[in-house]
Amino acid sequence: MAQSAEHVLDHLELFRGPEYQEMLAKKKIFENPRDPAEVERIKEWTKTAEYREKNFAREALAVNPAKACQPLGAVFASVGFEGTLPFVHGSQGCVAYYRSHLSRHFKEPSSCVSSSMTEDAAVFGGLNNMIDGLANSYNMYKPKMIAVSTTCMAEVIGDDLNAFIKTSKEKGSVPADFDVPFAHTPAFVGSHVTGYDNALKGILEHFWDGKAGTAPKLARKQNGAINIIGGFDGYTVGNLREIKRILALMGIQHTILADNSEVFDTPTDGEFRMYDGGTTLEDAANAVHAKATISMQQWCTEKTLPFVAEHGQDIVSFNYPVGLSATDDFIVALSRISGKEIPEQLARERGRLVDAIADSSAHIHGKKFAIYGDPDLCYGLAAFLLELGAEPTHVLSTNGSKAWHEKMQMLLASSPFGQGCQAYPGRDLWHMRSLLFTEPVDFLIGNTYGKYLERDTGTPLIRIGFPVFDRHHHHRSPLWGYQGGLNVLVKILDKVFDEMDKKTNVLGKTDYSFDIIR
């Protein structure tokens, strides 16, 4: 027996001992296992160009897709408003999943309710669930706003949120003037970034365009403020705080729309804050008067930005600006729109990032990378790699569109380091597995699920993306701004150096290169 009270062995070590290994070997006979030689043969076959071709010929099956469904994004956007409770109309299991998913990434509570529709609601519609649900949520959780979205069940049966909310108010579920913005967020259209977009547009539409016919539309009186939309972002905590710091440095009057940087980073001090921070409802309404709205992620705001533009504002969008040039463009745009000068401090921060790149680029230059993730994140990271002299060989976005593909290819074509690099819209991580075997790269950038690719193909994984379940607290550090660029650079460099050490640490064989100065 290997177990002891002095040195408790858990799953990491316990099963490696002879008792368990013998037990597992004996279990095999009941499993009717495949011939090990056959397993080996197929394993090798999956690494071939032939398999890659068959894999890429898939038309129906998705294996390990790198995207989630709309309501997740809707919940993420909704909690970015002060005192707002997301309410997802449909089956309740979905909400359990969104909450778990967000909590596993942020290591934070995630509050959200469901209208718990079951078979009878599937037949008769979910109106009663909405009526009861809004009343219960309002009484129990004392929100300032309830933001409604939908699961695919409610969408398939065609529940009408506008009518349902109106009826619920008539029945007294919530006061008539209580804010209940809504968005239809069918899971079978787009992905979580689409849901973010729909929910945010729904909330802005509610405040700007007369609260579903219950109030006058707001008349826009332009002021000098700028609205910033972060988009769906696993680094929302660090990123939005960094953006606010930069805006404060420049003295720009601003509103962050859907500011969930506080609610996903509350202190442990004896109190559970179900709501914290967030864009105030007043600010959300007044955001209509802003001079311009900047989206940090174009493909998270495909509907929201045109909606904002229709109200007379200038709109500018970025693609997850990471690194030097993208941050330059962002800062210059801020200055141009606001008429404010760029303070010397930002020039110094920029200089420090240039300094760091100059110090270290020799270790990244010419290295090949594969990247996957949400469309904007992929674009932003690829652009940064190009300016580091690295080659973003494969850029894959399961929720990337045709337009994304074109824009990505243009970016790749614009740089000598992008020649021979390829963007893959609509593909999944099983496609990526083939790519990593047939056209190998030095490093992989992606979320936690990339560890399966690292295990199978040996490509070292740099964890940047959503979700990251198996490393802690990185969401608190920004990837945006010059400081964020530095953080990304260090993440990449750490992995480059770790790999160098791993490859050179064999005593007496390769350790002549096991240098202490690199």
Binding site: A5, S91, G93, F188
Partner: protein, 500 residues
């Protein structure tokens, strides 16, 4: 120091009753009436816990429950390692449940094992409008081509499937025939069915019955020599290796485990189970259905057991041995004796650090009752417990064998109720799920996830008990809990108590 130990049973009862009344005040009248039936204070001697269960959750209250899909794909079918499980419908369900349940297995993932892969039909609008059966046909072909060593395929229905009128049964039959009798199992576990995960377990059990057992040749011989000591482990999902640290004890006492349902399980093991002499059932809730079926159809007796903590393990080993001859009975005694020194050492080390600490639980399946013995072996006391998706037979077992007089009982508790209960009762530890973890930690209350073992485990068996004890100790006695208040801010009464 616990609040509970300073009070008499009558005082605790009165306090708990008052607490329930107080919590119900927040609700609109109709909801208060409905929720009142799910909350109670247990009275010793009663045959159940006096709560209603397995009833629809109330809209808008933040229930912690999941859905039928979670019960079928996430719990019962997902761990069967050599079959491909398709999350059939939109992308989300499969994505959120991808690899998160820690059903350990040994196999070459992606080649002959598929547990931690996310296969989905990723429904688009056109699939909703025109139906998904054609897409499903193509998916099955693509799986056959790209994953040729799979031993079977299951189709796990998400909500839209049942709403758009797809005939996944017809597709399954046709494709099975085309592939020479390949096992293809359609499962009607749409998330809107039933009131929780529980119906998903039942539907999944029925699918095993209809699409695996009923397809077996009646005189089929197992691929191995049978023995009088063949048993099957039913209802162990091998979370963090639980089934392995259980199996080792059964084999040490002389039994032979011919199947694991379903952690680290395989299609062949499911098919062989009707040849078992005894089915031993850990998670009664999720697999009692198939156990009863095997009893009726194949005459296989089943017995419930509990491998959490040495008291229940010893009791269970003797109970299981009771179905066999003296050789096995002696084997059980030998195993209990063998592990006694480990048990003594674990208790000697951890009990002094955990003595009289109080615990509140809220979990699914078997755990709201099964883990109580393990806490008691460490000198701890469970002062509140409840089931996410239990039925009345769960509450009967809880009342008759596990909970103490005046324990607070909460069925299908929601965020609001659970927070108030914990705030008032100030337990030293809460054991629940990921959605609850950070809420209570923010409140300064130590917490362990009791679904996933908080990424630790196994907790089953004697080896698991040592890990359980270590983990509870590290949660409760972490120095961080004395630091939640800034020194320049006055500590509240609750924090002073917690810090003692």
């Amino acid at each position: 120091m616990s609040l509970a130990t300073t009070q008499s049973i009558a005082e605790i009862r009165a306090r708990n009753k008052e607490l329930i009344e107080e919590v119900l005040k927040v609700y609109p009248e109709k909801t208060a009436k409905r929720r009142a039936k799910h909350l109670n204070v247990h009275q010793a001697g009663k045959s159940d816990c006096g709560v209603k269960s397995n009833i629809k959750s109330i809209p808008g209250v933040m229930t912690i429950r999941g859905c039928a899909y979670a019960g079928s794909k996430g719990v019962v079918w997902g761990p069967i390692k050599d079959m491909v499980h398709i999350s059939h419908g939109p992308v989300g369900c499969g994505q959120y449940s991808w690899g998160s349940r820690r059903n350990y297995y040994v196999g070459t993932t992606g080649i002959d094992s598929f547990v931690t892969l996310q296969f989905t039909s990723d429904f688009q609008e056109k699939d909703i409008v025109f139906g998904g059966d054609k897409k499903l046909v193509k998916i099955l072909d693509e799986i056959q081509e790209l994953f040729p060593l799979n031993n079977g395929i299951t189709i796990q229905s998400e909500c839209p499937i049942g709403l758009i009128g797809d005939d996944i049964e017809a597709v399954s039959r046709a494709k099975s025939k085309e592939y020479g009798g390949k096992t293809i199992v359609p499962v009607r576990c749409e998330g809107f069915r039933g009131v929780s995960q529980s119906l998903g377990h039942h539907i999944a059990n029925d699918a095993v019955r209809d699409w695996i057992f009923d397809q077996l040749e009646s005189d089929g011989k197992p691929k191995f020599e049978q023995t009088p000591y063949d048993v099957a482990i039913i209802g162990d999902y091998n979370i963090g290796g639980d089934a392995w640290s259980s199996r080792i004890l059964l084999e040490e006492m002389g039994l032979r485990v011919i199947a694991q349902w379903s952690g680290d399980g395989s299609l062949a093991e499911l098919e062989a189970t009707p040849k078992a002499k005894l089915n031993i059932l850990h998670c009664y809730r999720s697999m009692n259905y198939i156990s009863r079926h095997m009893e009726e159809k194949f005459g296989i007796p089943w017995c419930e057991y509990n491998f959490f903590g040495p008291s229940k393990i010893a009791e269970s080993l003797r109970k299981i041995a009771g179905y066999f001859d003296d050789k096995i009975k002696e084997g059980a005694e030998r195993v209990i004796e063998k592990y006694q020194p480990l048990v003594n050492a674990v208790i000697a080390k951890y009990r002094p650090r955990l003595e009289s600490k109080t615990v509140m639980l809220y979990v699914g399946g078997l755990r709201p009752r099964h883990v109580i013995g393990a806490y008691e072996d460490l000198g701890m006391e469970v002062i509140g417990t409840g089931y996410e998706f239990g039925h009345n037979d769960d509450y009967q077992r809880t009342a008759q064998h596990y909970v103490k007089d005046s324990t607070l009982i909460y069925d299908d508790v929601n965020g609001y109720e659970f927070e108030r209960f914990v705030e008032k009762l100030q337990p030293d530890l809460v054991g629940s799920g990921i959605k609850e973890k950070y809420v209570f930690q923010k409140m300064g209350v130590p917490f362990r996830q009791m679904h996933s073992w908080d990424y630790s485990g196994p907790y089953h068996g004697y080896d698991g008990f040592a890990i359980f004890a270590r983990d509870m100790d590290m949660a409760i006695n972490s120095p961080v809990w004395k630091k939640t208040k800034a020194p320049w801010k006055e500590a509240s009464r609750a924090k002073l108590l917690a810090a003692e």
